[in-house]
């Protein structure tokens, strides 16, 4: 068996009770291995963010088990979970959560510094990550001096910086134009090709198709899983 970084088994998440009860996630089995990018797609309300938040240890499942890097999340207390989030998990949220009083580079460096990385090293890693998302010239700007798309790229750099092995992104291409979105996906893809395990949540099948596997959710259940062909078409076969 291949090792996996994320393993979800029969995971369910229910919100509310009685007539307000919503089964946001039902019986989900999902593995993500190093080197793999997996996309979760589906309509609005199908449970994508719920799944990502569970994988990111920001929420606990109602039923089932989740393992990250070999550790059962159910066995870990808040402190160990926070440590896991800082060291192992990189998250790009649907909401950006940038700190307004910190520059772009300081925002990106923050999770590394919190984890005890030397300030200079953290700063260098942050600048490199910002450079990769095309913001090399804006490292000293504050969030309110950046456009919406640029802020989104800062949030992405912050989520992907460092050596974290489980990368989670919730609609990271949301407000971005096609080519900027492509740059972000290339970055995520290259992190996975370099050995990270990636989980990309997007309602847009066009972005989902960047992944090795696409998991389609419907009403909280996995409806289908598609993989790339074992023998992809050659350019000549794609003739007009």
């Amino acid at each position: 068996m291949t090792e996996v970084i994320l393993r979800m088994r029969r995971v369910g998440r229910t919100y509310g009770e009685g007539s307000r009860r919503v089964d946001a996630l039902v019986d989900v089995d999902l593995d993500v291995a190093p080197g793999e990018l997996v996309a979760v797609t589906g309509r609005s309300g199908s449970g994508k963010s719920t799944l990502l938040n569970l994988a990111g240890t920001l929420d606990r499942p109602t039923t089932g088990t989740i393992e990250v890097d070999g550790r059962h999340l159910g066995d870990l207390g808040p402190r160990r979970l926070a440590e896991l989030r800082r060291r192992t998990i990189g998250i790009v949220f649907q909401e950006l959560n940038l700190i307004p009083s910190l520059t772009a580079a300081e925002n990106v460096a923050l999770p590394l510094e919190l984890d005890g990385t030397d300030l200079r090293v953290a700063r260098q890693a942050a600048e490199a990550a910002l450079d990769e998302v095309g913001l090399g010239a804006m490292v000293d700007r504050y969030p309110d001096e950046l456009s919406g798309g640029e802020q989104q790229r800062v949030a992405i750099a912050r989520g992907l910086v460092g050596t974290r092995t489980l990368l989670l992104a919730d609609e990271p291409t949301g407000a971005l134009d096609e080519l900027t979105g492509e740059a972000i996906l290339r970055l995520l893809r290259s992190r996975c090709d370099a050995g990270a395990a990636g989980l990309l949540v997007t309602h847009d099948p066009g972005w989902a198709a960047w992944a090795d596997r696409v998991v389609l959710l419907r009403s909280g259940r996995i409806e289908s899983v598609t993989e790339r062909s074992a023998t992809p078409p050659t350019p000549a076969e794609l003739r007009a």
Binding site: G206, S229, P235
Partner: protein, 187 residues
Amino acid sequence: MGIREGLLVLLADGPKHGYRLKGEFEEATGQAWPLNIGQVYTTLGRLERDGLVELDTTDSEGRKVYRLTKAGRAEVRDWLTRPVDHRLDARDELSMKLLLTLFAGVADPLAVVDTQRAATMTALQDLHRLKQETDPDDLPWLLHLDRLILRAEAELRWLDLVEDRLPERRRRPAAVHEPAETEEVTG
């Protein structure tokens, strides 16, 4: 369109022989449309018959070099300035399959939708991998892949829409429980 229009456009750039036309055609289309030399000479023969090209010279290696006639030049101008008429693609196989399924009631249209969605998603994943492996400077091939990718995305969107419009869709279980059902279930 056929290779006919392609050869005419390339000849508008100056007289050329068949091998050069073949090479340029493949380069221009990012190798997306390989030709064999027989097709090229057959097409040139037809264009000559129709008065759109004529023999310019025979080069030192004995290859026939063609050039556009005045009528050929007009044909190129006409083709390049005319928008592509997609109404001609109206008999799309997937549309036909779904419409006929709905009409005849011989199969579950949602099954047709689901099968196609999975196949198109796989195709889209393959296209993206090819694009990721493409040299960013290979513009013709990138543009062609973009076109194929967006066509596949449009198909996926259309399949979602088909599903939303089908009355059967409403019978699929929703995430929200009916109150009667939740009584015996404990959170």
